[in-house]
Structure formats: structure tokens, C-alpha cells
């Protein structure tokens, strides 16, 4: 029983990361119908930006004097990482995706470009900063609360909370604001969007800013929870988060959120009760089962074609 509760907490934390990353996938997909395969690596970049930001602020680079308290460093690191990561996301959009869109390239070519951008980010990082792993400094001391055999840390609680709040925020933005409506409109028919007086590119850039900054947020939290950073840290979790987003119903914010937690739960519970080698096997079989019962995912709506 205790270990069940413990594992539920574990799953909530792990699912939070899937959810946060899936939300970013979902935002970009929701607007451009583009599977932004670079998103996992944008998440990685977020973690690295946070790493550099934090070591800089902690005074390890010698530019500013050491001695800033950990919580202040964290409070500054998060926005720094979010801004830099957004800049990265927007750069990708400007340099790689937008020209292709302008040329009317097939959607899948943009997807492949995204995949390539991801590879460049991963390996560029490796080439630039070398192969050694980076250790994310401990900014806020970890406090372990033990409640009758169940251990919770302050970090775990924070991660879960952030994921839920991010979801609520994005849900509001996409569902209830005019710019959110514009985002949905772009996904359906980009041609007619400027006819409504909507600056398409601005909305798209806004989307990338939103998606990337939430990836950065996930990156910071991830780096704090799993403080060994490596250039490929975003690849696997990125793919899986994408799968989670699709199972939730790609393009739907609710779906991405639910899908992320679903995957987190299945993975943790499989490992807890079966040999861990069955994890992918069982997790993905369950997801496939869901998709074959509900082909558009949990919350997705099929694009119906009127003939």
C-alpha cells in the first residue's frame, strides 16, 4: 500500500515531465500541423541554458561574485532559460521552418527538417561543450518528507504543481483568447488567416515562444530532479512525450496533458510490478490499444471531410 502511494507520487512526477513536453509539441502541432521533432532537443537546450545560467549566477564562471543565495539563483535562472530557449525556438522557426512554408513545401519535409534541427542541436551541443556530462548545481536543498514510509521531496511537489498550473494557463490561452482562436484557425487554413486581419507570422512566433518557454521550464525542473545533463537527454523523452501527446489527441491541450500523465503512470506502474524490461512493451501496447479504440486519441477530434 505504501509503495503504491509512493509509486503514484513517482508517476505524478515523471508524468509531469511528459506532460510539460507534450504541451509544447501540442502547441506547435496545433498551429502548424507540424510535428516539431526538435522539441525534445529544445527541452534539452532549456536545461543547458539553465545550467549555464545557474553556474554563471552562482559565480562559478568568475564574472560575478559568488554568494547569491540558491533560491535567488533559481528565481533568475528560470526566466533566463525561458527567454533564451524561446529565442532558440523562434530562430529555428525563422531559419528552418518558415522559408519552407513560404515555398509551399510538403508538410513532411518540414517535419524532416525539424528532425534534422534536433540532430544539429544534440550534436552541436556535444561538439561545442564536449562529451562530459554536466552536473546541475543544487540550488534549493532537497528536503525529504517522510510520511509513514512514503517519501516526498519539495522538488517533487513543485514539479507536479508547475505541470498543473502550466496546463491551466495554456488551456486558457488556447481555448479562451482571441490569439488562441487564431492559432486554431492557422492550423486549419493558413491561407485565409491574413484575410481576417491576423498577422500569421506573429501568431506562429508567439506559439513557438510559448512552446519553447514551457519546454525550458520543464528543462529546468528536469535538471533539478535528474541533475546529470547530457546532450541526448531530450531525445528519448521527446519521442515519448510526442507519443503521449498523440495518444491524448494531438493538437488538444487537454489531450497532451492527460496523455503525458497516462504514459508516466503506465511506465512507473509497469516497472513497479513487472520486470522493467516489460516497460516499453506494456506501455506501448496499452497506448496502441487506446488508439485503436479511439483513433483520434483521448481528446482529439477528427478533422471531418465534408464531401
Amino acid at each position: 500500500m505504501e509503495s503504491l502511494i509512493q509509486n503514484i507520487l513517482n508517476a505524478l512526477q515523471w508524468g509531469s515531465f511528459y506532460s510539460l513536453i507534450a504541451l509544447g509539441y501540442c502547441l506547435v502541432y496545433g498551429v502548424l500541423s507540424l510535428i516539431n521533432f526538435a522539441h525534445g532537443d529544445i527541452f534539452m537546450a532549456g536545461a543547458y541554458f539553465a545550467f549555464f545560467g545557474a553556474t554563471f549566477l552562482l559565480g562559478k564562471t568568475g564574472v560575478i561574485p559568488p554568494g547569491m543565495p540558491g533560491w535567488a539563483v533559481l528565481a533568475l535562472t528560470i526566466p533566463i532559460s525561458m527567454i533564451l530557449t524561446s529565442a532558440l525556438g523562434v530562430t529555428l522557426e525563422r531559419v528552418a521552418y518558415r522559408p519552407l512554408r513560404r515555398k509551399g513545401a510538403h508538410k513532411l519535409y518540414v517535419v524532416i527538417t525539424a528532425l534534422m534541427c534536433g540532430l544539429v542541436l544534440e550534436n552541436g551541443n556535444l561538439a561545442l561543450f564536449g562529451a562530459s556530462r554536466k552536473n546541475f548545481p543544487t540550488l534549493v536543498p532537497q528536503i525529504v518528507y517522510s510520511l509513514g514510509g512514503v517519501s516526498v521531496t519539495n522538488l517533487k511537489v513543485a514539479v507536479i504543481l508547475v505541470a498543473v498550473l502550466s496546463f491551466l494557463f495554456l488551456h486558457y490561452v488556447v481555448g479562451k483568447t482571441k490569439i488562441g482562436m487564431a492559432m486554431q484557425a492557422i492550423s486549419y487554413d493558413r491561407f485565409a488567416v491574413p484575410l481576417m486581419g491576423i498577422p500569421t507570422d506573429t501568431v506562429i512566433v508567439f506559439t513557438f515562444v510559448l512552446g519553447s518557454s514551457f519546454a525550458a521550464l520543464a528543462g529546468v525542473l528536469f535538471a533539478m530532479s535528474y541533475p546529470v545533463l547530457d546532450p541526448f537527454m531530450g531525445a528519448l523523452i521527446g519521442w515519448k512525450a510526442f507519443i503521449a501527446a498523440v495518444v491524448g489527441g494531438i493538437g488538444s491541450i487537454r489531450g497532451a496533458f492527460a496523455g503525458g500523465f497516462l504514459l508516466g503512470f503506465v511506465e512507473i506502474m509497469v516497472v513497479a510490478f513487472f520486470p522493467s524490461t516489460f516497460r516499453d512493451l506494456i506501455a506501448f501496447s496499452i497506448l496502441l490499444l487506446i488508439l485503436s479504440l479511439k483513433p483520434t486519441g483521448l481528446f482529439g477530434v477528427a478533422r471531418r471531410t465534408k464531401i
Partner: protein
């Protein structure tokens, strides 16, 4: 002069679609462009709206003037929000994943006037097309063809435009609605709306418009008042049908 096209040449990829056309629209006028399929009518409207490639053409030479100012470096959304031009595009291009109501709301994206003006316009659209009011919460992709056309028109009317470009607005509408629509447009024109109309039913278009131009494979081959064009035997033979 509200809108003037000067010697406009445009191309899609490597294919020139307009070979230097010139025409103009005065404020408060209804002008129609008629011509066979593929003559370049839609291309002209897309050029005026400054829509980006690949769907829209690239300007090779010539100029598009709006109240004397060149539009060539204007962004399409600025054509809508700053110059108050609206286009009802060929093929409707409604946002199928949004409901009817959301489609109409989105059209007010650039509007700065208050909620009451917007809701008055909404009432006007629903008056004209009661069917839309019935379907207001339906995802618009499942509307029937004609209903989608109504929505496309309604959207343009919601944007508080002063110049309206219409690309085959009657396509797929029932005769009753088509006449109703033209009557409404006429009324709006009397209230000051300028209209540039493309219509396959040339006879109808010439009945409705003040002036007209005949476009043939990217060139203007005839122009004049509607009555003149309707009486021109060459035009009659080629475009008005038997």
C-alpha cells in the same frame, strides 16, 4: 481613385498569369471582372490582398495603388486592418475546426470598435443568413456547401470593411439566397461600400455592377459600363452564353 491597378504583371512559379492589366475602382462603385475560367480573375484579387506565396502570385512589375499609395510592400493583414479591405475568397476557406460563431468572432480580430457595434453586425449577418444563426455552435467543417459560402460572406461582413472583394460569392447558393445576397450587397453599396465583384454568371454580374472589365488569359480585352458590355456583341457571344 480608391483602387488602381497599373500595368500589373504577376507569376506563379515560372508561369506568368497576368500580362500587364490596368483598371481602377472608384469609391462607392460596384465593379465587376468577368472572364472565362483561368483568365486570372482570382489572381488579380489575391494580388490586391497581397497574399503570400505559394497560393498567391508574385508581382513582376506594375503597381497596385490604394488611395494613391502603393500596396506592394504592405502585409496582407494590414490591407485588412488598416485599409479596411475584405476578401471573400474563392473556395470559401472557412476555419472548419472552429464553430460558426468562432469564425465570425475571429473576423473581428482587428476591429477596435466596441462590442455593441460588433453585435449589431452579427445581427445583420444572422438576418441575412438565418441558417447561420441556427448552426452557430456547429463545427463549420460539417456545414453544407452553401452554408459554408454564407459563412465566408458573413465573415467578410463582420470585419467592418469599406471595400469588399468578392470572388464568386454566389457559388453553391440557392437561387433564393443568391438574389437575397445581391440585394443586401446593393443596399450596403448604397450606404457607401465599394465592391469589386467576380462572378461566373456574367449576366447577373453585369446587371448588378456599375462598370465592368473583361479579362481573357491575363489581359483586359474590354471595359465599359455594365450596359455597354452587356450590349457588346463580342462579349455577349463569348461570356454571356446562349
Amino acid at each position: 481613385m480608391l483602387l488602381e491597378i497599373r500595368d500589373l504583371r504577376v507569376k506563379y512559379g515560372n508561369i506568368e498569369a497576368l500580362h500587364g492589366i490596368s483598371f481602377h475602382v472608384e469609391k462607392g462603385e460596384i465593379v465587376t471582372l468577368i472572364g472565362a475560367n483561368g483568365a486570372g480573375k482570382t489572381t488579380t484579387l489575391h494580388s490586391i490582398m497581397r497574399l503570400p506565396p505559394p497560393e498567391a502570385p508574385k508581382v513582376l512589375s506594375g503597381d497596385i495603388l490604394f488611395e494613391g499609395m502603393s500596396l506592394l510592400s504592405t502585409e496582407p493583414h494590414d490591407v485588412v486592418r488598416k485599409l479596411h479591405v475584405a476578401l471573400v475568397p474563392e473556395g470559401r476557406h472557412i476555419f472548419g475546426n472552429l464553430t460558426v460563431m468562432e469564425n465570425l468572432t475571429l473576423a473581428t480580430y482587428a476591429r477596435k470598435d466596441g462590442a455593441s457595434a460588433i453585435s449589431a453586425d452579427l445581427d445583420r449577418v444572422f438576418d441575412l443568413f438565418p441558417r447561420l444563426a441556427e448552426r452557430r455552435n456547429q463545427r463549420s467543417e460539417s456545414l453544407s456547401g452553401g452554408e459554408q459560402q454564407m459563412l465566408a460572406l458573413g465573415r467578410a461582413l463582420m470585419s467592418k470593411c469599406q471595400t469588399l472583394l468578392l470572388d464568386e460569392p454566389s457559388m453553391g447558393l440557392s437561387p433564393l439566397l443568391m438574389y437575397e445576397m445581391f440585394r443586401t450587397l446593393k443596399r450596403l453599396n448604397e450606404q457607401g461600400l465599394t465592391i469589386l465583384l467576380i462572378e461566373q454568371n456574367a449576366r447577373l454580374a453585369l446587371r448588378f455592377a456599375h462598370r465592368g472589365y473583361v479579362l481573357d488569359t491575363g489581359e483586359i480585352v474590354a471595359s465599359g459600363s455594365s450596359a455597354e458590355l452587356a450590349a457588346d456583341p463580342a462579349v455577349k457571344k463569348a461570356y454571356l452564353g446562349g
